[in-house]
Amino acid sequence: MGEEEGLRQAQLLDTMFVRGLKRKCFDGEEDIEGTLAGFKAIPSYNLQRQSLLDMSLVKLQLCHMLVEPNLCRSVLIANTVRQIQEEMTQDGTWQMINTQNAGHASLDRLVSTDILCRSSREQTEGKHGPGYSTFPKDFEETQSQDSSEIMSTVSSGQAPRNLQSNMWEMESPQENRGNFQKSLDQIFETLENKSPNSVEDLFSEVDNSYYDLDTMLTGMMSNTKMGHCDVLETFPSQTTTNSNSNCKSDLNELDHIVEILVES
């Protein structure tokens, strides 16, 4: 997302998230206008919450990092994602978002949220925006679909858990698994060619559970089934456009790494 756009979006979200604005249920005092305003407030809250969710998922992308990401930051972002998902699951809006927006890039959604927010602002000035008339219809559809869609809600809810496990365990964010496997074999070969003691020394003071080769390789093998970026594609995101360039840079990095190993 463009920086300016993202910042504007974030500023819009700020007005929404001030003081824990959850359900801005307009009470009866505003009568009919209140009810309409209620419809207006709930969707923009949902969409802005969705925008926060997207932002968080983008932040969790680890695909092209050479330095280990900050675990504290990742945990806090993941907890935020979990909070949003829990709330959305309770709302029943989780399923609605998935079916509506499958295939769209998150950038589009951010833009569309902006449009909806603008139109809702215009409505407070007495105009009707395009988003308003269509939304209540979708909202009602969601309510009826809710019970029948519980299964798919659960399954899509599991994807973020996999995301997290991939994130924590697979701290080496290589895209191209095949090449990585090859270079890893080369690493082990190089290690084994040294004196047998050195390999043990290498592992003796180290946290054994982590450096357990079996664990690591298993972790990597399961990741071949679903890497970070694959998971993120279940949430519409812009990783598809980025992943190709990441592959190339990762391959270059791998070549560089292998060069260092071979020379040593």
Binding site: G6, L7, Q9, A10, Q11, L13, D14, T15, M16, F17, V18, R19, G20, L21, K22, R49, L52, M55, K59, M65, L66, V67, E68, N70, L71, C72, R73, V75, L76, A78, N79, T80, Q83, I84, R161, Q164, S165, W168, E169, E171, S172, Q174, F180, S183, I187, E205, V206, D207, Y210, Y211, M216, L254, I257, I260, L261
Partner: protein
């Protein structure tokens, strides 16, 4: 407070290598160590007071510079290990030499700093340049004599404590027993003996069996200043745990848990993030703890676990901007906090090169700025104000014009005097108070 900007560590390329990442006074305040992103440590020494020029008392000048850590590559994880110095802690001085611990994400090193100001002259077998003499020219024996020379400061690595941490080390703390110290990473805390590098004891482990269940990490930890069996660690969920090493070998069960219940009216998606404690410091008395989270500093009484005894707002005007700050990652900035020598004033940094001081007795607070314009030598710092709409006085800064790239994360207070060290990106500022400061 009177201000003097002394040593500026300007990096040649303008960014990166020389961003100061930690600042620490030694136990007497005579030495001030800084670590930077390029793995260097610079030590400043306070000039002794001169009777001739009373105003030049106690200026800090560069004493020694050395490369503490180098960038490394972890082949198993295919990731770089940054050389950035995360923390420096001085050991109490036990002889003529000074010692300090410095750490990056993975490795802690013990450095010994010694002075050499004399050198032997008059060897029998070597001439002054060190070449062997022609023995036939030696007619008498002489005893080498120590002659004064220009002061030379030598720094040598005495211990390297490696391979103790899988995750990134965020804190180190020397025990009051002066024999052990602890190092904490995101999930574990290890206890080391200063003389033993090939093993350490794990005293806290919060890594879940299934990493998918990870929701909380360790953010900071410190030994109690007097009780060698007590230490505290803070978490990303805003809690503090006081642990007693006498209770069990693995201190996973805390002795005391300090947690403030959440304010339901302020609840938002960012509540947890802003409650994450970025720094914890025991008071010099050992009776209180100071914590810093994103918007506040809090003083906790060790005897009261339910809530802090004092809460100070650092920059509450940011509360309505949390989403923007989340978007640009500023919400994850880790600010440090500090006590003054008498535990009566606390200090912490903020944005726009502002730092804040709170007087616990008078309840007054002040905002000051560390910048080149405001700190010509001997210039008195002017209090600053951030206005949040409404009335705006002259010289006020509006919230929207704050520079969030200028953050003061690292600050230190002299152990006994009113001298503070402020790290503003790649500049170090040292401010002294000539007369008793009055808080506005």
């Amino acid at each position: 407070m009177e201000g003097e900007s002394i040593y500026e560590i300007d990096s040649e390329d303008g960014v990166g290598a020389d961003i100061i990442s930690t600042v620490e006074f030694n136990h007497t305040g005579e030495l001030l160590a800084t670590g930077d992103k390029g793995g260097r440590v610079v030590i400043f020494q306070r000039e002794p007071e001169s009777k001739n020029e009373p105003y030049s008392q106690g200026e800090y000048n560069v004493y020694s510079t050395f490369q503490s850590h180098e960038p490394e590559f972890d082949y198993l994880k295919s990731l770089e290990i940054e050389e950035k110095i995360n923390k420096i802690k001085w050991l109490p001085q036990q002889n003529a030499a000074h010692s300090l611990l410095s750490t990056n994400d993975k490795t802690i090193k013990l450095w010994k700093i010694t002075e050499r100001d004399k050198r032997p002259e008059g060897y029998n077998l070597k001439d002054e340049e060190g070449k062997l003499k022609d023995l036939s020219t030696v007619t008498s024996l002489q005893v080498p004599v120590l002659k004064p020379m220009d002061l030379m400061v030598e720094v040598t690595p005495r211990r390297i404590f490696a391979n103790g941490h899988t995750y990134h080390v965020n804190s180190i703390s020397v025990n009051s027993d002066c024999e052990t110290y602890m190092s904490a990473d995101d999930l574990r805390i290890n206890l080391w003996h200063l003389a033993i590098t090939d093993r350490s004891f794990n005293i806290v482990d919060i890594k879940p069996a299934n990493m998918e269940d990870l929701t909380e990490v360790i953010t900071a930890s410190e030994f109690h200043p007097h009780h060698c069996n007590l230490f505290v660690y803070s978490s990303s969920k805003g809690s503090l745990r006081l642990c007693d090493m006498r209770a069990s070998a693995l201190c996973d069960k805390h002795s005391k848990l300090y947690e403030e219940p959440e304010d339901p009216s302020n609840r938002s998606f960012f509540s947890e993030i802003i409650s994450s404690v970025s720094d914890v410091k025991f008071s010099h008395s050992g009776r209180y703890m100071l914590t810093r989270d994103y918007l506040t500093v809090k003083v906790w009484d060790l005897n009261m676990e339910t809530k802090p005894v004092e809460t100070y707002q650092v920059h509450d005007y940011l509360r309505s901007k949390l989403c923007s700050l989340y978007e640009n990652d500023c919400i994850f900035d880790k600010f440090e906090c500090a006590w003054n020598g008498s535990d009566s004033v606390i200090m912490t940094g903020a944005y726009n090169n502002f730092f804040r001081m709170f007087d616990r007795n008078t309840k007054r607070d002040v905002t000051l700025e560390a910048s080149r314009e405001s700190s010509k030598p001997r210039a008195i710092l002017k209090p600053r104000r951030v206005c949040v709409g409404g009335k705006r006085r002259k010289d006020d800064i509006s919230v929207d014009s704050l520079d969030f790239t200028k953050k003061i994360l690292h600050t230190a207070w002299h152990p006994t005097e009113n001298i503070i060290a402020i790290a503003a990106t790649n500049n170090l500022y040292i401010f002294q108070d000539k007369v008793n400061s009055e808080m506005h």
